[in-house]
Amino acid sequence: MAHPTRHLDDTVHQRVRLGILAVLAEARRADFNYLRDTLELTDGNLSRHLQILEQAGYVRIDKTFEGRRPRTWAVATQRGRAALETELAALRALLDRVDGAAPKRHPARGGGDASGEPGA
């Protein structure tokens, strides 16, 4: 059976990008300012992460106008939603693996490496 880390996706695994997908997975769409404020990011930082997610096909960017004000909306694609679920499943599998090994190797939960190997 493949080790759970094999299911971690480098694009999604990054903390901020995981956060963006987590918000978008629960909504139809979120605008740039909401994401920036919720995730406590700078404009430039959020732009960069959205660009990476868009290039990977995980997020779609829609630009609209409200009156004369431009507004940028981010939408999670089906692929993005699936990637988030896969990432969460992989993280939980890692934790389960550690929990399974805990009685023998790790007396305290979460006290070791998630690979399941002591000191790895």
Partner: protein, 188 residues
């Protein structure tokens, strides 16, 4: 990656998802509005009888639904976070259809218990639907408790003529209370 980091990441993601859901699914406005409408409806049932309440809901139901939709749309636009609209609309339409069906059938066939209890149980079923959409255990508990209470009243022999206004007033007061209780934290 260490286990603490994985656990922290999962915790953060779940927290963000819960927070996003809470931002989207605030229930104050529809609870206050439909609670007040149900209290008005209870007064009409008690004074004017079933047919008048049917007319009342034919006007108040769709208007309330449209007002709720407009409220959510304005709020989501202002907030910058939009949720999927159709599941809520589907549950709302289901509640309206179910209430008219059970209330109307009960009235037409002379089944007073169906006319009195049917719409209330439909509202409870709709409440369970909303609880499922919002993944809200308290909403599910309230919906089941109200249905259980109404069925309990019927089981102990409360007649449909008392059960209709009593049950409607109980649902209305509960919805109004829940809506008002939710107002303060949502403003904060």
């Amino acid at each position: 990656m260490r286990a603490e980091e994985a656990a922290q990441l999962v915790h953060e993601i779940e927290h963000l998802r819960r927070r996003t859901r809470a931002s989207l699914h605030h229930v104050s406005f529809p609870c206050v509005m439909f609670g007040a409408l149900m209290l008005a409806s209870a007064a009409i049932v008690a004074t004017a009888g079933g047919p008048s309440v049917g007319l009342f809901w034919m006007v108040a139901g769709p208007l309330g639904g449209v007002a709720t939709g407009r409220h959510y749309r304005r709020r989501e636009r202002r907030m910058g976070l939009e949720g999927p609209a159709w599941p809520g609309v589907a549950v709302g339409l289901g509640i309206m259809a179910g209430c008219f069906l059970t209330g109307g059938l009960g009235g037409a066939l002379g089944l007073e218990t169906l006319a009195a209890v049917g719409p209330l149980l439909v509202v409870s079923a709709g409440g369970l639907g909303f609880a499922l959409l919002h993944r809200s255990v308290p909403a599910a508990v309230v919906a089941v408790a109200l249905a259980t209470f109404v069925v309990g009243l019927w089981a102990v022999g409360v007649g449909p003529r008392q059960l209709g206004p009593l049950g409607t007033a109980l649902y209305g007061a509960t919805l109004l209370g829940v809506g008002l209780a939710c107002r303060a934290p949502q403003r904060g």
